[in-house]
Protein backbone atom coordinates (compact mmCIF):
# COMPACT_ATOMS: atom_id res chain seq x y z
CA UNK A 1 0.00 0.00 0.00
CA UNK A 2 1.52 3.31 -1.10
CA UNK A 3 0.71 6.12 1.30
CA UNK A 4 0.91 9.77 0.38
CA UNK A 5 -0.67 13.10 1.21
CA UNK A 6 -2.23 13.87 -2.16
CA UNK A 7 -2.83 11.58 -5.13
CA UNK A 8 -3.27 13.24 -8.51
CA UNK A 9 -4.85 10.98 -11.12
CA UNK A 10 -3.84 12.27 -14.54
CA UNK A 11 -0.59 13.94 -15.55
CA UNK A 12 -1.98 16.38 -18.09
CA UNK A 13 -2.16 20.18 -17.74
CA UNK A 14 -4.67 20.02 -14.87
CA UNK A 15 -2.92 17.21 -13.02
CA UNK A 16 0.61 18.56 -13.29
CA UNK A 17 -0.52 22.01 -12.22
CA UNK A 18 -2.43 20.48 -9.28
CA UNK A 19 0.69 18.60 -8.26
CA UNK A 20 2.64 21.88 -8.36
CA UNK A 21 0.21 23.70 -6.04
CA UNK A 22 0.20 20.71 -3.74
CA UNK A 23 3.99 20.58 -3.60
CA UNK A 24 4.18 24.34 -3.04
CA UNK A 25 1.91 23.84 -0.03
CA UNK A 26 4.43 21.37 1.38
CA UNK A 27 2.55 18.13 0.83
CA UNK A 28 3.88 14.90 -0.66
CA UNK A 29 2.19 14.21 -3.99
CA UNK A 30 1.92 11.18 -6.23
CA UNK A 31 0.97 11.75 -9.88
CA UNK A 32 -0.22 8.73 -11.83
CA UNK A 33 -0.84 8.74 -15.58
CA UNK A 34 -1.60 5.71 -17.75
CA UNK A 35 0.43 7.03 -20.72
CA UNK A 36 4.16 6.29 -21.01
CA UNK A 37 4.93 10.02 -20.79
CA UNK A 38 3.54 12.74 -18.55
CA UNK A 39 1.78 15.64 -20.21
CA UNK A 40 -1.63 14.28 -21.13
CA UNK A 41 -2.84 15.70 -24.43
CA UNK A 42 -0.21 18.46 -24.34
CA UNK A 43 2.27 16.03 -25.91
CA UNK A 44 0.60 16.32 -29.30
CA UNK A 45 -0.30 20.03 -29.33
CA UNK A 46 2.27 21.43 -31.74
CA UNK A 47 0.50 24.78 -31.94
CA UNK A 48 1.03 27.82 -29.73
CA UNK A 49 -1.36 28.30 -26.86
CA UNK A 50 -3.61 31.31 -26.31
CA UNK A 51 -4.46 32.98 -23.00
CA UNK A 52 -1.86 35.03 -21.20
CA UNK A 53 1.61 34.52 -19.74
CA UNK A 54 0.46 32.39 -16.74
CA UNK A 55 -1.15 29.91 -19.11
CA UNK A 56 1.98 29.78 -21.29
CA UNK A 57 0.50 31.88 -24.11
CA UNK A 58 2.57 31.60 -27.28
CA UNK A 59 4.31 28.48 -25.96
CA UNK A 60 3.69 25.34 -27.97
CA UNK A 61 1.65 22.75 -26.09
CA UNK A 62 4.39 20.16 -26.67
CA UNK A 63 6.85 22.34 -24.74
CA UNK A 64 4.64 22.86 -21.70
CA UNK A 65 5.04 19.45 -19.97
CA UNK A 66 8.81 20.02 -19.74
CA UNK A 67 8.25 23.41 -18.12
CA UNK A 68 5.78 22.03 -15.59
CA UNK A 69 7.94 19.00 -14.84
CA UNK A 70 10.91 21.31 -14.39
CA UNK A 71 9.00 23.29 -11.78
CA UNK A 72 7.94 20.06 -10.06
CA UNK A 73 11.51 18.73 -10.02
CA UNK A 74 12.48 21.49 -7.60
CA UNK A 75 10.51 19.67 -4.90
CA UNK A 76 12.70 16.59 -5.11
CA UNK A 77 11.24 13.39 -3.76
CA UNK A 78 8.17 15.14 -2.34
CA UNK A 79 6.82 14.66 -5.87
CA UNK A 80 6.58 11.10 -7.16
CA UNK A 81 5.68 10.64 -10.82
CA UNK A 82 4.24 7.33 -12.01
CA UNK A 83 3.95 7.24 -15.79
CA UNK A 84 2.52 4.11 -17.39
CA UNK A 85 0.37 3.69 -14.30
CA UNK A 86 -3.37 3.22 -14.70
CA UNK A 87 -5.49 4.03 -11.67
CA UNK A 88 -8.08 1.26 -11.90
CA UNK A 89 -10.45 2.08 -9.09
CA UNK A 90 -11.43 4.66 -6.51
CA UNK A 91 -13.12 3.05 -3.54
CA UNK A 92 -15.43 4.51 -0.94
CA UNK A 93 -12.89 3.90 1.82
CA UNK A 94 -10.48 6.30 0.13
CA UNK A 95 -8.27 3.57 -1.33
CA UNK A 96 -7.24 3.63 -4.98
CA UNK A 97 -6.04 0.61 -6.94
CA UNK A 98 -3.43 0.93 -9.65
CA UNK A 99 -1.63 -1.12 -12.28
CA UNK A 100 1.82 -0.22 -13.56
CA UNK A 101 3.01 -2.83 -16.04
CA UNK A 102 2.55 -6.14 -14.19
CA UNK A 103 2.64 -4.45 -10.80
CA UNK A 104 -0.78 -4.16 -9.12
CA UNK A 105 -0.90 -2.09 -5.94
CA UNK A 106 -3.05 0.16 -3.76
CA UNK A 107 -2.68 3.82 -2.89
CA UNK A 108 -4.06 5.51 0.20
CA UNK A 109 -3.81 9.29 -0.04
CA UNK A 110 -5.33 11.73 2.44
CA UNK A 111 -6.93 13.59 -0.47
CA UNK A 112 -6.98 13.20 -4.26
CA UNK A 113 -7.42 15.27 -7.39
CA UNK A 114 -9.07 13.50 -10.31
CA UNK A 115 -7.77 15.07 -13.52
CA UNK A 116 -8.58 12.30 -15.97
CA UNK A 117 -9.51 14.48 -18.93
CA UNK A 118 -11.96 13.52 -21.64
CA UNK A 119 -12.83 11.13 -24.44
CA UNK A 120 -13.56 12.09 -28.05
CA UNK A 121 -17.16 11.71 -29.09
CA UNK A 122 -18.37 10.01 -32.23
CA UNK A 123 -21.14 10.75 -34.68
CA UNK A 124 -23.97 8.42 -35.67
CA UNK A 125 -24.31 7.71 -39.37
CA UNK A 126 -24.32 4.51 -41.47
CA UNK A 127 -20.88 2.87 -41.63
CA UNK A 128 -19.42 5.19 -39.00
CA UNK A 129 -17.37 2.22 -37.79
CA UNK A 130 -15.29 1.82 -40.95
CA UNK A 131 -11.52 1.81 -40.52
CA UNK A 132 -10.39 5.25 -41.66
CA UNK A 133 -12.92 7.08 -39.51
CA UNK A 134 -11.03 8.40 -36.51
CA UNK A 135 -11.28 11.03 -33.82
CA UNK A 136 -9.48 14.23 -34.84
CA UNK A 137 -7.45 14.06 -31.65
CA UNK A 138 -6.55 10.47 -32.47
CA UNK A 139 -5.13 11.54 -35.82
CA UNK A 140 -3.25 14.31 -34.06
CA UNK A 141 -1.73 11.68 -31.75
CA UNK A 142 -0.79 9.40 -34.63
CA UNK A 143 0.91 12.24 -36.55
CA UNK A 144 2.50 14.31 -33.82
CA UNK A 145 3.44 11.68 -31.26
CA UNK A 146 4.17 8.67 -33.46
CA UNK A 147 5.07 10.41 -36.73
CA UNK A 148 2.71 8.34 -38.89
CA UNK A 149 0.43 9.90 -41.51
CA UNK A 150 -3.20 8.82 -41.08
CA UNK A 151 -3.88 8.55 -44.83
CA UNK A 152 -3.90 10.66 -48.00
CA UNK A 153 -7.14 12.65 -48.20
CA UNK A 154 -9.00 13.79 -45.11
CA UNK A 155 -12.58 14.94 -44.65
CA UNK A 156 -12.70 16.91 -41.38
CA UNK A 157 -16.07 16.81 -39.65
CA UNK A 158 -16.31 19.65 -37.14
CA UNK A 159 -15.10 23.25 -37.34
CA UNK A 160 -14.49 23.79 -33.63
CA UNK A 161 -10.97 24.53 -32.42
CA UNK A 162 -9.87 20.90 -32.56
CA UNK A 163 -11.18 20.41 -36.11
CA UNK A 164 -9.53 23.60 -37.34
CA UNK A 165 -6.23 22.99 -35.54
CA UNK A 166 -5.93 19.35 -36.61
CA UNK A 167 -6.71 20.35 -40.20
CA UNK A 168 -3.82 22.79 -40.09
CA UNK A 169 -1.55 20.16 -38.54
CA UNK A 170 -2.54 17.63 -41.24
CA UNK A 171 -1.38 20.15 -43.85
CA UNK A 172 1.88 20.59 -41.96
CA UNK A 173 2.38 16.82 -42.06
CA UNK A 174 1.89 16.84 -45.82
CA UNK A 175 -1.62 15.33 -45.80
CA UNK A 176 -4.39 16.75 -47.99
CA UNK A 177 -7.49 18.10 -46.24
CA UNK A 178 -10.32 18.04 -48.77
CA UNK A 179 -12.71 20.17 -46.75
CA UNK A 180 -13.99 20.94 -43.28
CA UNK A 181 -17.72 20.61 -42.67
CA UNK A 182 -19.83 21.50 -39.66
CA UNK A 183 -23.52 21.03 -39.00
CA UNK A 184 -23.75 24.43 -37.29
CA UNK A 185 -24.37 27.55 -39.38
CA UNK A 186 -21.24 29.24 -37.98
CA UNK A 187 -17.65 28.15 -37.46
CA UNK A 188 -17.38 27.16 -33.81
CA UNK A 189 -13.65 27.59 -33.31
CA UNK A 190 -11.50 30.72 -33.21
CA UNK A 191 -11.70 32.53 -36.56
CA UNK A 192 -7.92 33.02 -36.61
CA UNK A 193 -7.63 29.21 -36.83
CA UNK A 194 -10.18 29.18 -39.64
CA UNK A 195 -8.30 31.92 -41.47
CA UNK A 196 -5.07 29.88 -41.40
CA UNK A 197 -6.63 26.89 -43.15
CA UNK A 198 -8.68 28.99 -45.59
CA UNK A 199 -5.41 30.68 -46.72
CA UNK A 200 -4.02 27.22 -47.42
CA UNK A 201 -6.95 26.45 -49.68
CA UNK A 202 -9.08 24.26 -47.40
CA UNK A 203 -12.78 25.10 -47.86
CA UNK A 204 -15.06 25.28 -44.82
CA UNK A 205 -18.69 24.39 -45.38
CA UNK A 206 -21.03 25.11 -42.51
CA UNK A 207 -24.60 23.79 -42.26
CA UNK A 208 -23.33 20.57 -43.78
CA UNK A 209 -23.16 17.08 -42.28
CA UNK A 210 -22.17 13.52 -43.12
CA UNK A 211 -25.07 11.36 -44.30
CA UNK A 212 -23.11 8.14 -44.61
CA UNK A 213 -19.67 6.68 -45.16
CA UNK A 214 -18.91 4.12 -47.87
CA UNK A 215 -16.10 1.75 -48.65
CA UNK A 216 -15.14 -1.87 -48.98
CA UNK A 217 -13.62 -2.83 -45.67
CA UNK A 218 -12.32 0.70 -45.10
CA UNK A 219 -13.39 4.27 -45.80
CA UNK A 220 -13.30 5.24 -49.46
CA UNK A 221 -15.80 8.06 -49.67
CA UNK A 222 -18.47 9.92 -47.74
CA UNK A 223 -21.76 11.48 -48.74
CA UNK A 224 -22.51 14.87 -47.21
CA UNK A 225 -25.61 17.04 -47.36
CA UNK A 226 -26.60 20.59 -46.49
CA UNK A 227 -28.76 21.15 -43.44
CA UNK A 228 -31.74 23.48 -43.19
CA UNK A 229 -32.57 25.79 -40.28
CA UNK A 230 -34.01 22.84 -38.34
CA UNK A 231 -30.88 20.72 -38.93
CA UNK A 232 -32.63 18.40 -41.38
CA UNK A 233 -30.76 17.31 -44.53
CA UNK A 234 -31.91 19.17 -47.61
CA UNK A 235 -32.81 16.78 -50.44
CA UNK A 236 -30.79 17.35 -53.59
CA UNK A 237 -27.76 18.77 -51.79
CA UNK A 238 -25.91 15.46 -51.47
CA UNK A 239 -22.24 15.53 -52.42
CA UNK A 240 -19.77 12.66 -52.53
CA UNK A 241 -16.31 13.32 -51.09
CA UNK A 242 -13.51 10.91 -51.93
CA UNK A 243 -11.50 10.42 -48.75
CA UNK A 244 -9.59 7.62 -47.05
CA UNK A 245 -9.70 9.37 -43.68
CA UNK A 246 -12.56 11.08 -41.93
CA UNK A 247 -11.74 12.95 -38.73
CA UNK A 248 -14.62 13.30 -36.35
CA UNK A 249 -14.27 16.43 -34.25
CA UNK A 250 -17.65 16.89 -32.65
CA UNK A 251 -16.69 17.42 -29.07
CA UNK A 252 -15.41 15.66 -26.00
CA UNK A 253 -17.07 14.05 -22.98
CA UNK A 254 -15.58 14.13 -19.48
CA UNK A 255 -14.03 10.87 -18.19
CA UNK A 256 -15.78 10.49 -14.85
CA UNK A 257 -15.60 6.73 -14.17
CA UNK A 258 -13.42 7.03 -11.08
CA UNK A 259 -15.65 9.77 -9.69
CA UNK A 260 -18.80 7.71 -10.24
CA UNK A 261 -17.13 4.69 -8.68
CA UNK A 262 -16.15 6.66 -5.59
CA UNK A 263 -19.75 7.74 -5.18
CA UNK A 264 -19.58 11.36 -6.33
CA UNK A 265 -22.80 13.03 -7.38
CA UNK A 266 -22.81 13.74 -11.10
CA UNK A 267 -25.15 15.91 -13.12
CA UNK A 268 -25.77 15.98 -16.85
CA UNK A 269 -24.81 19.48 -18.06
CA UNK A 270 -24.74 19.69 -21.89
CA UNK A 271 -22.70 22.91 -21.94
CA UNK A 272 -19.93 21.19 -20.00
CA UNK A 273 -19.86 18.15 -22.25
CA UNK A 274 -22.07 15.67 -20.43
CA UNK A 275 -22.00 14.15 -16.97
CA UNK A 276 -19.87 16.23 -14.61
CA UNK A 277 -19.27 16.03 -10.87
CA UNK A 278 -21.05 18.39 -8.52
CA UNK A 279 -18.31 20.35 -6.79
CA UNK A 280 -17.74 23.28 -4.48
CA UNK A 281 -15.88 26.48 -5.32
CA UNK A 282 -12.86 24.67 -3.94
CA UNK A 283 -13.25 21.94 -6.57
CA UNK A 284 -14.20 19.37 -3.94
CA UNK A 285 -16.75 16.79 -5.10
CA UNK A 286 -19.53 15.44 -2.90
CA UNK A 287 -17.05 12.88 -1.59
CA UNK A 288 -14.96 14.62 1.09
CA UNK A 289 -11.29 14.85 0.14
CA UNK A 290 -11.94 14.02 -3.51
CA UNK A 291 -11.26 16.96 -5.81
CA UNK A 292 -11.59 17.39 -9.56
CA UNK A 293 -10.02 19.62 -12.21
CA UNK A 294 -9.68 20.01 -15.96
CA UNK A 295 -11.79 18.38 -18.64
CA UNK A 296 -13.01 15.72 -16.19
CA UNK A 297 -14.91 18.52 -14.44
CA UNK A 298 -16.23 20.05 -17.67
CA UNK A 299 -14.89 20.34 -21.22
CA UNK A 300 -12.91 23.51 -21.76
CA UNK A 301 -9.32 24.35 -22.79
CA UNK A 302 -5.89 23.41 -21.51
CA UNK A 303 -5.35 26.93 -20.21
CA UNK A 304 -8.45 26.67 -18.01
CA UNK A 305 -7.43 23.14 -17.01
CA UNK A 306 -4.13 24.50 -15.68
CA UNK A 307 -5.85 27.18 -13.61
CA UNK A 308 -8.42 24.72 -12.24
CA UNK A 309 -5.72 22.17 -11.47
CA UNK A 310 -3.72 24.81 -9.61
CA UNK A 311 -6.78 25.66 -7.49
CA UNK A 312 -7.83 22.06 -6.87
CA UNK A 313 -4.27 21.20 -5.80
CA UNK A 314 -4.28 24.10 -3.37
CA UNK A 315 -7.44 22.88 -1.67
CA UNK A 316 -6.54 19.18 -1.82
CA UNK A 317 -3.31 20.02 0.01
CA UNK A 318 -5.31 22.09 2.50
CA UNK A 319 -7.59 19.11 3.13
CA UNK A 320 -4.53 17.01 3.89
CA UNK A 321 -3.40 19.64 6.41
CA UNK A 322 -0.89 21.54 4.26
CA UNK A 323 -1.68 25.19 3.83
CA UNK A 324 -0.05 26.96 0.89
CA UNK A 325 2.17 29.85 2.13
CA UNK A 326 0.11 32.39 0.18
CA UNK A 327 -3.12 30.52 -0.25
CA UNK A 328 -5.57 33.41 -0.35
CA UNK A 329 -3.49 35.53 -2.75
CA UNK A 330 -2.66 32.64 -5.04
CA UNK A 331 -6.26 31.47 -5.13
CA UNK A 332 -7.46 34.99 -5.91
CA UNK A 333 -4.99 35.35 -8.78
CA UNK A 334 -5.93 31.98 -10.21
CA UNK A 335 -9.64 32.73 -9.99
CA UNK A 336 -9.12 36.06 -11.71
CA UNK A 337 -7.14 34.38 -14.50
CA UNK A 338 -9.88 31.78 -14.93
CA UNK A 339 -12.55 34.46 -15.04
CA UNK A 340 -10.57 36.38 -17.67
CA UNK A 341 -10.28 33.26 -19.84
CA UNK A 342 -14.02 32.73 -19.58
CA UNK A 343 -15.15 36.35 -19.85
CA UNK A 344 -15.52 36.61 -23.61
CA UNK A 345 -17.90 35.20 -26.16
CA UNK A 346 -15.73 32.09 -26.32
CA UNK A 347 -16.52 31.35 -22.66
CA UNK A 348 -20.26 31.90 -22.87
CA UNK A 349 -21.30 28.24 -22.84
CA UNK A 350 -18.87 27.40 -20.01
CA UNK A 351 -20.33 30.16 -17.86
CA UNK A 352 -23.85 28.96 -18.69
CA UNK A 353 -22.91 25.38 -17.85
CA UNK A 354 -21.33 26.28 -14.53
CA UNK A 355 -24.39 28.34 -13.57
CA UNK A 356 -26.68 25.46 -14.48
CA UNK A 357 -24.55 23.02 -12.47
CA UNK A 358 -24.79 25.24 -9.43
CA UNK A 359 -28.57 25.42 -9.75
CA UNK A 360 -28.84 21.65 -10.32
CA UNK A 361 -26.71 20.92 -7.28
CA UNK A 362 -28.88 23.09 -5.05
CA UNK A 363 -31.95 21.06 -5.84
CA UNK A 364 -30.22 17.70 -5.18
Amino acid sequence: MKKTDVLVVGGGPAGLRAALSTAEAGARVLVADRAPRMGGQLVKQTHMFFGSKEQYASVRGIDIPEKLLGRLARFGDKVELLPGCTVLGAYEDGVFTALQGEDYFKIRPVSAVIATGAIERTLAFPNNDLPGIYGAGAVQTLMNVYGVKPGRRVLMVGAGNIGLIVSYQLLQAGVEVVMIIDAAPKIGGYLVHAAKVRRMGVPIHTSRTVLRAEGNGRLERAVTAALDARCAPVPGTEQTVEADVMCISVGLSPLTELLAMAGCELRYIPQLGGGVPVRSREYETTVPGLFVAGDASGIEEASAAMMEGALAGLYAAGYAGFVHPSEAETAAELRAALAALRAGEAGRHIRAGLELLEKEALYA
Binding site: I62, P131, G137, R218
Partner: protein, 102 residues
Protein backbone atom coordinates in the same frame (compact mmCIF):
# COMPACT_ATOMS: atom_id res chain seq x y z
CA UNK B 1 0.53 4.64 -44.29
CA UNK B 2 3.85 6.41 -44.58
CA UNK B 3 5.88 7.94 -41.81
CA UNK B 4 6.57 11.65 -41.63
CA UNK B 5 10.21 12.26 -42.49
CA UNK B 6 10.47 16.04 -42.16
CA UNK B 7 8.09 18.25 -40.20
CA UNK B 8 8.04 22.05 -39.78
CA UNK B 9 7.71 21.87 -35.99
CA UNK B 10 8.63 18.36 -34.85
CA UNK B 11 11.87 16.44 -35.08
CA UNK B 12 11.55 12.80 -36.03
CA UNK B 13 15.02 11.36 -35.43
CA UNK B 14 16.02 7.95 -36.71
CA UNK B 15 14.81 5.21 -34.43
CA UNK B 16 15.82 1.62 -33.87
CA UNK B 17 13.89 -0.96 -35.90
CA UNK B 18 11.76 -3.49 -33.99
CA UNK B 19 10.73 -6.65 -35.81
CA UNK B 20 7.42 -8.24 -34.88
CA UNK B 21 4.75 -10.39 -36.50
CA UNK B 22 1.17 -9.55 -37.43
CA UNK B 23 -1.07 -12.59 -38.02
CA UNK B 24 2.12 -14.54 -38.60
CA UNK B 25 3.52 -12.08 -41.18
CA UNK B 26 6.85 -10.42 -40.38
CA UNK B 27 6.61 -6.68 -39.93
CA UNK B 28 8.90 -3.85 -38.88
CA UNK B 29 8.15 -1.05 -36.49
CA UNK B 30 10.27 1.52 -34.73
CA UNK B 31 11.24 2.06 -31.13
CA UNK B 32 8.67 4.42 -29.64
CA UNK B 33 5.79 3.02 -31.70
CA UNK B 34 2.69 1.67 -30.12
CA UNK B 35 1.55 -1.60 -31.66
CA UNK B 36 -1.20 0.35 -33.47
CA UNK B 37 1.09 3.06 -34.86
CA UNK B 38 3.48 0.39 -36.14
CA UNK B 39 0.62 -1.46 -37.84
CA UNK B 40 -0.68 1.77 -39.36
CA UNK B 41 2.78 2.60 -40.71
CA UNK B 42 2.69 -0.81 -42.38
CA UNK B 43 -0.66 -0.09 -43.97
CA UNK B 44 -2.70 -2.21 -41.58
CA UNK B 45 -5.89 -0.33 -40.77
CA UNK B 46 -8.23 -3.23 -39.92
CA UNK B 47 -7.36 -4.17 -36.36
CA UNK B 48 -10.42 -6.10 -35.27
CA UNK B 49 -13.84 -7.44 -36.23
CA UNK B 50 -17.07 -6.64 -34.44
CA UNK B 51 -18.37 -9.55 -32.35
CA UNK B 52 -21.72 -10.24 -34.01
CA UNK B 53 -21.51 -9.00 -37.58
CA UNK B 54 -17.72 -9.31 -38.05
CA UNK B 55 -17.55 -5.75 -39.39
CA UNK B 56 -14.01 -4.45 -39.87
CA UNK B 57 -12.83 -2.08 -37.14
CA UNK B 58 -9.84 0.22 -36.86
CA UNK B 59 -8.71 2.49 -34.04
CA UNK B 60 -10.81 5.48 -33.01
CA UNK B 61 -9.41 7.45 -30.10
CA UNK B 62 -5.75 6.29 -30.20
CA UNK B 63 -5.21 6.92 -26.47
CA UNK B 64 -6.80 3.91 -24.79
CA UNK B 65 -10.36 5.10 -24.14
CA UNK B 66 -12.60 3.46 -26.73
CA UNK B 67 -11.42 -0.18 -26.98
CA UNK B 68 -11.81 -0.22 -30.78
CA UNK B 69 -8.20 -1.34 -31.31
CA UNK B 70 -8.08 -4.48 -29.14
CA UNK B 71 -6.02 -7.38 -30.44
CA UNK B 72 -4.38 -10.51 -29.05
CA UNK B 73 -0.71 -9.85 -28.27
CA UNK B 74 1.69 -12.64 -27.25
CA UNK B 75 -1.32 -14.81 -26.55
CA UNK B 76 -3.01 -12.24 -24.29
CA UNK B 77 -6.40 -11.09 -25.62
CA UNK B 78 -8.06 -7.66 -25.40
CA UNK B 79 -4.84 -5.70 -25.50
CA UNK B 80 -5.40 -2.02 -26.34
CA UNK B 81 -2.87 -1.76 -29.14
CA UNK B 82 -3.01 2.06 -29.28
CA UNK B 83 -1.88 2.25 -25.66
CA UNK B 84 0.70 -0.55 -25.66
CA UNK B 85 4.31 0.10 -26.68
CA UNK B 86 5.71 -2.16 -29.39
CA UNK B 87 8.47 -4.53 -28.32
CA UNK B 88 10.74 -6.60 -30.53
CA UNK B 89 9.43 -10.10 -31.20
CA UNK B 90 5.80 -9.36 -30.33
CA UNK B 91 3.23 -11.74 -31.83
CA UNK B 92 0.25 -9.55 -32.75
CA UNK B 93 -2.94 -11.21 -33.96
CA UNK B 94 -6.41 -10.14 -35.02
CA UNK B 95 -8.66 -11.42 -32.30
CA UNK B 96 -11.59 -13.77 -32.97
CA UNK B 97 -14.40 -13.07 -30.57
CA UNK B 98 -14.17 -11.64 -27.09
CA UNK B 99 -11.10 -13.54 -25.94
CA UNK B 100 -10.63 -15.45 -22.72
CA UNK B 101 -8.36 -14.17 -19.98
CA UNK B 102 -6.19 -16.47 -17.87
Amino acid sequence: MERIARHPILDFPERKALDFTFDGRPMRGLEGDTIQSALHANGVVVLARSHELRRPRGFYCAIGNCSSCMMTVDGVPNVKTCATMLRAGMDVRTQRGKGVLG
